[in-house]
Amino acid sequence: MTAAEPDIALKVRIRNLRRSFVLHGRTFDALDGVSLDIAAGEFLAIVGPSGCGKTTMLRIVADLDTQTEGTIEVVRALASSQPINSMVFQQESIFPWMTVRDNAAFGLKARGIGKRQRYALVQPILERAGLAGFENALPHQLSGGMKQRVSLARAFANDPEILLMDEPFAALDEQTKLILQGELLRIWEASGKTVIYVTHSIDEAISLADRVLVMSARPGRVKDLIDVASIFSRPRDVASVKSNPHYGELFAHIWRELRNEIVADASPVEQAA
């Protein structure tokens, strides 16, 4: 357990988060006593062995799941009308029956913003996400990478205080992933939003994040919190991060911690919740 960061511009305060599941009459913990502070505007990556509860934690923050114990506090401006969070999902999650534009504007529509206004709001975001010219396309006409661009555009268009990302590029090929990581950084750096980014890729965590949270094997706990921001400054270029000599050190350090967890976790049960 690392000491808490100073309370300057705190965005999210997570305390003693526990989530237990009942499976075949047996109770087990997916998360056990996670405490964490996330600063406003911070990009936090979470890595951990599969089944360590990182997605569960994200879903609890997203209000799609409920903790068994513990608290999550989000610090907001009193008059804030922004949504607290928007999630970018790992699987294909854009609606196949909506055009790219309507998909991206979904959150705005849910907030009761009229058609003309939400299309106007969404247009610059579609352009920044490289979707200009595809506004009226249906998802089945797009590649996997383009679909995830729509998913990102939908989250950014909703203008939430916190972006939650659950392995958004995991299903993409390597080249597409590199390009989208770069574009995510570019869009995010301009937005100043707080990001919680779950990934199984150590490389992705180092390339994108300010801090990397390494979780233990089930039940998920905070094993380590690694400061990346002090090594790689912003604005950051994904490709040049990998050629930096510190990259190898960081990678080896995180991998050592993860490997110990994976080896130590003798349980054969896989639970990807």
Binding site: A62, D63, L64, P83, N85, S86, M87, F89, Q91, E92, S93, F95, P96, W97, M98, F106, G107, K109, A110, R111, L138, P139, H140, Q141, R154, N158
Partner: protein, 256 residues
């Protein structure tokens, strides 16, 4: 792609050839008196009859009556069925209230309800619409509710995470998500509608294809009866072509 395209065309030809061959065989059997033409008539005589009924408006009159009943009843049944199906699929309380009732009454042959429907809606057109709507509504409730439940959870998660209200969950997520299943239900329901209306018309009506078939048989105008059967088949074919077209327009993402 060439050989595939060629075999598609060959198959189309075969599809057209089979009924024509059967008709030819029927004609030969009738001409050689291998079959009793008092009961089975012959394609040429049926065609003559068809032509005559088309010319004097009799056919149009009965066909229009049947088509109007089916369309109105089908529209009512589909609308009510989709709304109830969405509610059952999305709202557990509605499902608890209605689903056992639907499951229990679904197996009742709807034509058997005709006496009741006539008591409730009278002998006129309203009872025809009602019997069609009742037949259709079950298939659409069941298919719509199943369609909603088959919607991938991720889409419901997106709706929740983006705070879509209940109405928007209905119109933007559940309805389009269930649409493939709804259209399948509509296709089955259309076939059932034709079966039910022809049966109902032969039992209690003074017009319509079913009435035409049954009265022709009773007065032993066999050719007219066959014309009625033929028109029923054409209506079935036409409605399925129409619904297949509608399916491609409504659900473009299902076929790419």
């Amino acid at each position: 792609m060439k050989p595939v395209a060629a075999s598609v065309q060959v198959n189309r030809l075969i599809s057209a050839a089979t009924p024509l061959l059967l008709l030819a065989a029927w004609e030969v059997a009738a001409q050689t008196h291998a079959i009793d033409t008092r009961f089975f008539s012959s394609p040429s005589r049926i065609f003559m009859q068809f032509w005559q009924m088309l010319a004097n408006g009799e056919l149009l009159y009965h066909t229009a009556a049947t088509v109007a009943r089916v369309l109105i009843g089908f529209a009512i049944g589909t609308t009510v069925g989709v709304v109830l199906g969405l509610a059952i699929g999305l709202v557990p309380t509605v499902s608890a209230a209605l689903e056992p009732l639907v499951d229990a009454t679904f197996p009742i042959p709807k034509v058997a309800l005709l006496p009741l429907v006539i008591i409730l809606f009278g002998i006129g057109e309203a009872s025809k619409y009602a019997i069609i709507a009742i037949s259709v509504v079950y298939l659409l409730i069941i298919n719509t509710a199943a369609g909603v439940r088959q919607i991938e959870r991720i889409y419901l998660d997106v709706g929740r995470n983006y705070h879509a209200g209940r109405l928007m969950m209905f119109t933007d997520v559940a309805l389009p998500g269930a649409l493939p299943s709804i259209v399948t239900g509509m296709k089955v329901a259309m076939g059932v509608s034709l079966i039910v209306i022809v049966t109902a018309e032969s039992l209690a009506a003074k017009s319509g294809i079913g009435y035409l078939i049954w009265t022709s048989w009773q007065v032993f105008e066999v050719e007219k009866m066959y014309v009625g059967l033929f028109v029923t088949a054409i209506l079935g074919l036409a409605s399925s072509i129409l619904l297949n077209w509608a399916e491609r327009r409504l659900i473009p993402w299902k076929r790419s």
